[in-house]
């Protein structure tokens, strides 16, 4: 497997505080990886460690095959980063902001012009490129910061809470932009967020961190399946008789009836059809059956709760 990021026991202390605690993680190239955790869980510190802006207290990390401790310059030359603050020069125009970063990454004047037009056009900012960034809305600034991050077509992009502080409409639009950009550019995206629906929509893989420790890694679907039992929700009439029959089945963990609905918690992820047949055979008139799994938010809260306890 070709890894974009690989860490082994990565640890960073600030005095007595373990901001990152023995983090071992692999992020394959080309995926959108969501790093989830509550505020103060160590997401930003991990990102700084991966960029070589902080040295680890213990452990090691490789980014694009380069060691963060000894080859940080090589890493920073090859990645794009949108950090906690957007880092835009608000007293300069959008064009000047991109021009500066284009020069930093040694793009030729032609390349700078082409990339600027390409990215700003995709983000609907091209017509406003000569305006001062300070006069823009937060959403527009975030879009510009993403354009700056992608300007030199890096193979790996770090995005720290890219939609933080945006309204739902701007967040959704920016999320679409990030997804579209990641696909078009073919870049690996390492995204930190505590916005779980966002992670669910955007990410191929997610890792959950709490108090500096990695609690779980997997695709959103895997995590959901791993952390909770699927549930059948059945609506209809005459369900009471069927409830007893279902409770006797070993694959059923629990059955509850409420407000004309039967909630069947399954012991594992089994087919629903045999249970529905059993219900019908007891005389129940089934109108609707829905199989429900936990959302990523449920999984996240369960994991975080486990650690807290």
């Amino acid at each position: 497997m070709d890894w974009a990021i690989r860490t082994e026991g990565l640890t960073r202390h600030f005095g007595a505080i373990r901001a990152v605690d023995g983090l071992s993680l692999q992020v394959p190239r080309g995926c959108v990886f969501g790093f989830l955790g509550p505020n103060g869980s160590g997401k930003t510190t991990t990102l700084r460690l991966l960029l070589g802006l902080l040295d680890p207290t213990d452990g090691r990390a490789e980014v694009l095959g380069y060691d963060t401790r000894t080859q940080a310059g090589e890493i920073r030359a090859r990645v794009g980063a949108l950090l906690e603050h957007n880092g835009l020069y608000e007293r300069l125009t959008a064009e000047d902001n991109l021009e500066f970063y284009g020069r930093i990454y040694r793009l030729s004047p032609e390349q700078r012009g082409e990339r600027m037009e390409q990215l700003l056009t995709h983000l609907d900012l091209w017509e406003r490129r000569r305006e001062l960034v300070g006069d823009w809305s937060r959403g527009m600034k975030q879009k510009l910061a993403i354009a700056r991050t992608l300007l030199h077509a890096p193979p790996l992009v770090f995005l720290d809470e890219p939609t933080a502080g945006l309204d739902p409409v701007a967040s959704a639009a920016l999320r679409d932009d990030i997804a579209g950009m990641a696909r078009r550019e073919g870049a690996t995206v390492f995204l930190t967020t505590h916005n779980l629906p966002e992670a669910e929509k955007l990410c191929d893989l997610v890792g959950v961190i709490r108090q500096g420790r990695l609690l779980a890694v997997g695709s959103p679907g895997e995590l959901r399946a791993r952390a909770s039992h699927p549930t059948l929700i059945v609506r209809g009439r005459g369900l009471e008789a069927g409830a007893e029959a279902l409770r006797s089945r070993p694959e059923v963990a629990d059955v509850a009836l409420a407000d004309g609905e039967m909630i069947v918690r399954l012991a594992d992820d089994m087919e629903a059809a045999p249970l529905v047949s059993l219900l019908v055979s007891t005389g129940a008139q089934v109108e609707e059956v829905r199989k429900d799994t936990a959302s990523l938010e449920d999984v996240f809260l369960a994991l975080v709760q486990e650690v807290a306890e």
């Binding site: 960029l51 020069y89 300069l92 793009l107």
Partner: protein
């Protein structure tokens, strides 16, 4: 990506950005904001003061003190922004997360402030000459003394560079621009009053030697002062380089 000599190109990149922001930094904390602040400085030192001083503006050896002080005034007004401004406006960490080397960032910021101080001082110097000649024209071109030309050629760039080096050193650790400006003001006062007081406490025999040296060959004194300042510049830059640590800059 195109290939060109790396370090110089990176320094020029930082310098390019700093120059874009310099007119804004020049009047950022004062009553007059933006490029107008620079125009006012040029108006004061290039027109108003020369007209008030009259011919003495070009004749007096004391004029050299003015041209030694103007770059300090100009540079200290903008250099506090170098790192403290980036920190205050939350642009520093993004800049540090780029491929730019520590030295390129540092040298680019020093060079931008020093060039600003030097170039505006030279503009004031030349404009002052024009103002004096226009106001006191008697058919003969009035020029600065050779000492002023030598001083302007040697001391002005070195003073501007020293002010920029010291300013960047202070700005590296300051939490805010205001804090950097205050510290820089104190450092400037300590240097100016320290020099004045230092001369006072020298033994009379040493002072006599110095006075005769100045009276004998002021040019030699200017050159010697320039050499001392060049050494001071190198020392302060080396200290700033040693103190430039990305980790500390981020955690501060």
């Amino acid at each position: 990506m195109s290939e060109r000599p790396g370090f110089a190109r990176d320094v020029l990149t930082v310098l390019w950005k700093e120059w874009k922001e310099l007119p804004l930094n020049a009047g950022d904390r004062g009553l007059v904001k933006g490029p107008l602040g620079i125009l006012i400085v040029i108006g004061v030192f290039g027109v108003m003061l020369p007209l008030q001083a009259g011919r003495a503006w070009v004749d007096s050896p004391m004029a050299l003190l003015v041209w030694g002080w103007v770059p300090i005034l100009l540079v200290s007004n903008v250099v506090a922004q170098a790192f403290a401004g980036e920190r205050e406006r939350h642009t520093l960490e993004t800049l540090l997360a780029t491929r730019l080397s520590d030295r390129a960032i540092l040298v680019g910021k020093v060079a931008a402030s020093a060039l600003y101080g030097w170039s505006v001082t030279i503009i004031c110097l030349l404009l002052g000459l024009v103002s004096i000649n226009v106001a006191h024209w008697d058919g003969r071109l009035l020029l600065y003394s050779p000492l002023t030309w030598v001083g302007a050629g040697i001391l002005v760039p070195l003073v501007a560079l020293l002010a920029a080096n010291l300013g960047v050193l202070v700005s590296l650790r300051a939490g805010t621009v205001r804090q950097a400006q205050q510290t820089l003001g104190i450092v400037s006062m300590v240097i100016v009053f320290g020099l004045g007081y230092g001369v006072q406490v020298l033994p009379p025999s040493v002072r006599q030697v110095l006075a005769s040296a100045v009276a004998g060959s002021a040019t030699t004194v200017v050159v010697a002062a320039g050499a001392l300042m060049a050494v001071a510049n190198v020392l302060v830059l080396l200290i700033a380089m040693a103190r430039f640590q990305r980790t500390r800059l981020i955690l501060d």
